[in-house]
Point group: C2
Amino acid sequence: METVNLGLIGGGTVGGGVIRALRRNGALMASRLGVNLAIRRVAVRTPRKHQDLDLPEGVLTTDWRQVVEDPQVQIVVELAGGTTAARDMVLAALRLGKPVVTANKALLSAHGPELFRTAAQHGANLYYEASVAGGIPIIKVLRESLVGNRVVSLAGIVNGTCNYILTRMKLEGIEFNEVLAEAQRLGYAEAEPSLDVDGHDAAHKTGILASLAHGFWVDPKSIHTEGIRQISRLDIQFATRLGYTIKLLGVIKTFEAAPSGKKKPARKKAVDGPRIQVAVYPALIPNTHVLASVNHAFNAISVRGDIVGDTLFYGRGAGADATASSVLSDLADAALDLKHRSVERVPCFVAHSSDSRVVPMEEVVSRYYLRLEVIDQPGVFARISALLARAKIGISSIIQPEGHAGETVPVILMIHDASNAAMQKALKQIARLNVVRAEPVLIRVEPFE
Amino acid sequence: METVNLGLIGGGTVGGGVIRALRRNGALMASRLGVNLAIRRVAVRTPRKHQDLDLPEGVLTTDWRQVVEDPQVQIVVELAGGTTAARDMVLAALRLGKPVVTANKALLSAHGPELFRTAAQHGANLYYEASVAGGIPIIKVLRESLVGNRVVSLAGIVNGTCNYILTRMKLEGIEFNEVLAEAQRLGYAEAEPSLDVDGHDAAHKTGILASLAHGFWVDPKSIHTEGIRQISRLDIQFATRLGYTIKLLGVIKTFEAAPSGKKKPARKKAVDGPRIQVAVYPALIPNTHVLASVNHAFNAISVRGDIVGDTLFYGRGAGADATASSVLSDLADAALDLKHRSVERVPCFVAHSSDSRVVPMEEVVSRYYLRLEVIDQPGVFARISALLARAKIGISSIIQPEGHAGETVPVILMIHDASNAAMQKALKQIARLNVVRAEPVLIRVEPFE
């Protein structure tokens, strides 16, 4: 049986996971693939820390160039993380015509087009199943299984840390800060949690998915990104009473224009291609939707295709083993492509829509949950309603939850279909009303209709 | 751009769906794949019935051989259904070295090994993503995405008709016969519903999944199959109160031996390879599991891999469009394999486990929900408990639901880990007790621990 030699860069959590998984199931994979995967070189920072990997003499090195440039190494696996050295590693391997497997979503988000261009120029390929949603094979699903579909919409729970926090807030009725502190203590959240809880990691992943789904490279800067710090226990409780669950979502949709009486401004360049919403924000989703049942550190991605209808893909979003599973899947594809000389069969990125663009969030129409703290006196509803009516924003319901007494009480407004620009403007006016105390909390609603 | 010519056999629901989907998204697929898919010939029984397909002159024929043998046709799509003529069609195409795409689970179940052997002999390939669970890409997931995993267990809702019936029974509190009659009236269920409601269709699909997951061909006759006719409204209600939902599942598990004090009989041939449970039956699943949220005609397949952990794949299990989406995915693979001469890259079936076997259901250990109708008098529990104790079957709880009065009342026993042989034997004895009236209802419990 043919053997394909691998060179790994990074012996950390994921690297160790890949090495252990190959040791455990390498023979099984070989019998399934007809190709044997052998680890030839592994670059790590401190070799003496990796005795537990139990690798043969001469495999470990501290120099990633020795991995990439070893003429025996046929596939390079970049698991070092970061966006600077990792970029050098991936580019160096591709320039040698060697296929690269990576789990590095930040690298792809920052340097995707350059990497894809280099791969194409050198007849290599770049495989990145593990970069989005850990063990969920969403890259292969979008590129191959749903190849006959236009992606009408996609909504994904793609950050395990945020989902873990929101799940515990809901199940235990505790506040964000309390769960975050405990998650940090247990190692489920980073000491500097911003990448996760402010939505940036989800934005990296959502950008990759949007690019694949819509065939043009989505600039990460164009992705409207909100995190979950402003979500309180109270919002989760009210959402529950209304039949919803709050999740941090990556949302990709074909844009629906804001209802407007005005004509289009003539000075704007006419764009005929599809206009796509790409954003990350917490949202209320109906409890009847499967995404609402996705708890703890699990991820799930719901995809609506114009032919297939609604689909959903669920699994662990992070961790050594789930990520290793996706790396192994990429290694299988890379090895088969080497064996069958089919490296261009499924290229790393196919730009197939030159006229699509991401619409600014202000133009996107959403539904909203709005929680206000108001003074408990007659006439409050009337003032708020009048203000929204003047802004032509329709209220679908106003709820004053029972069991709250004091100088101020919470009021929930459910709002139908207003542009984000109109809603933000109205929100500023509402916040200035003297009957409204505390900062209003605005969370979008995704009805999945 | 290269064009690949397709020949379709069958212009019915799925055939029409494929033709419409290709017309709608053919250009998009071509831009994604770099290959243009063109429909060259379509065989149908009655051409005048297919005017709505709006095909060019000369494309329609009544003779499937004209499709298969047309030298211009490069890929044959078998959507005729059935297992006799369809077998001839697929074999004829493969013998000409033409790749075949099929959605025909009954054909694969009945003649899989012969078709796979013929494909290998003639250097063609057979693609069958659409044969299991409609739009869910479970074949590609098992073969490619989870290639680095041993499948520890798999549980699938793979029959939309049964899931539709069970969902309505639960949501509306009505009986099986009532829902079935309405489903038949609406065209959701066949006039002869046995293939669906008695579990046979689910068994075809479960057998295909088990074969792919475990690398040996699972003989359909070895699949223990039960349907949902015996499930009553009462069982669904009691399950709900206990925190469970009843679903018809295809279940594949690595077998756990029945606890037994006896030594292994020496005359049995020692088998060292994995022993696999492959079965179809209704089961109580915890409401916290995502499968419990899969409603109406949707399908979902939960797969636990030894590396990836728990995953789940959800979508429409039937219907022209969902099935067409999977056919398009196979057509893309087949066309790319032709273009890149990589037809053996992912063969239609790789036998990689020669010593695995399906264990007889009697040896499988399960948990159970047992509903008895008993005479409402003291001592009833004691007699049933004593009988089960003698059979060494442990009861985890006995529940006498409130709100039932009369000569007989329902009693629910939840039973832990007993072999199916022991349980069936005990059940016969229980049914003979004079305090037990009506036929006992035994449903397995799948705890997903």
